[in-house]
Symmetry: C2
Subunit: 116 residues, 2 copies
DNA sequence: TGACTGTTTTACCATATGGTAATATAGTTG
DNA sequence: CAACTATATTACCATATGGTAAAACAGTCA
């Protein structure tokens, strides 16, 4: 049997993973998650902080809730959300470092060219 | 100044991160990456292994290439691709563990209900 | 109760995107 | 060169999805 560095994943698993990525593929949802950070904010506070439409924020929050990325707590008229899946931030950091590496490589390529 | 566990990211950064997630949000692209694993395969081999259409595989590979996730090497008539950004697999693993945790929680919720 | 506030849902439009057939391109071989 | 193979590109269709206005819903307060 061949030795592999990476786990073989079933198509079913890959579909679920893709769905999670799809959820994170929307800038507005990332903005919401990033705005939440480790705080608990109401929908209204998120609307104000992000500048997005209220229905839009609510819809995105519903999707994040269904996926289990955020938690929901009702208090009076307000509904408070917070991030309950910390892997979200780990994923962003990993992507960020990958992007940083790539950009650095591209930058150095340009630099090498201009100085040559 | 408030202490935060998570870095504050600019909207621009979040847009780039979202773009990366969008690239990984397509099951067929994940299948291609997972099929590649740590091997170098030709387009034809990928077509056969995945069962997808040739044009489709080629298009997805082009996107992965442009994003710097895979490398491309031409040899005669064949073109060989391989994964050159290992963070891809790390991201999948992180998502997988998150999904596993969530499913386990749901499962135990069901179990608690049925045995009660 | 009725007026008001915060949130969710619905209906709809505009846009983006995946799949594919057909075609183009590049490279090999006779 | 022509015939062939492997890959890439183009054009197109069908579908999915984000944003938003309007309406519905839920909870508060006078």
């Amino acid at each position: 049997m061949k030795r592999r560095r990476h786990k073989e994943l079933t198509v079913e698993a890959l579909n679920m993973i893709a769905a999670r990525f799809r959820l994170l593929a929307e800038p507005m949802r990332l903005i919401i998650l990033n705005t939440l950070g480790d705080e608990e904010l109401s929908v209204g506070e998120l609307v104000e902080a992000t500048g997005a439409g209220q229905a839009n924020v609510s819809k995105h929050l519903g999707m994040l809730l269904e996926a289990g990325l955020v938690g929901r707590r009702k208090e009076g008229l307000n509904v408070y959300y917070k991030v309950i899946d910390e892997t979200v931030f780990a994923l962003c950091e990993t992507v960020c470092s990958s992007l940083g590496q790539r950009l650095a490589a591209q930058q150095s390529a340009v630099k090498n060219f201009t100085t040559r």
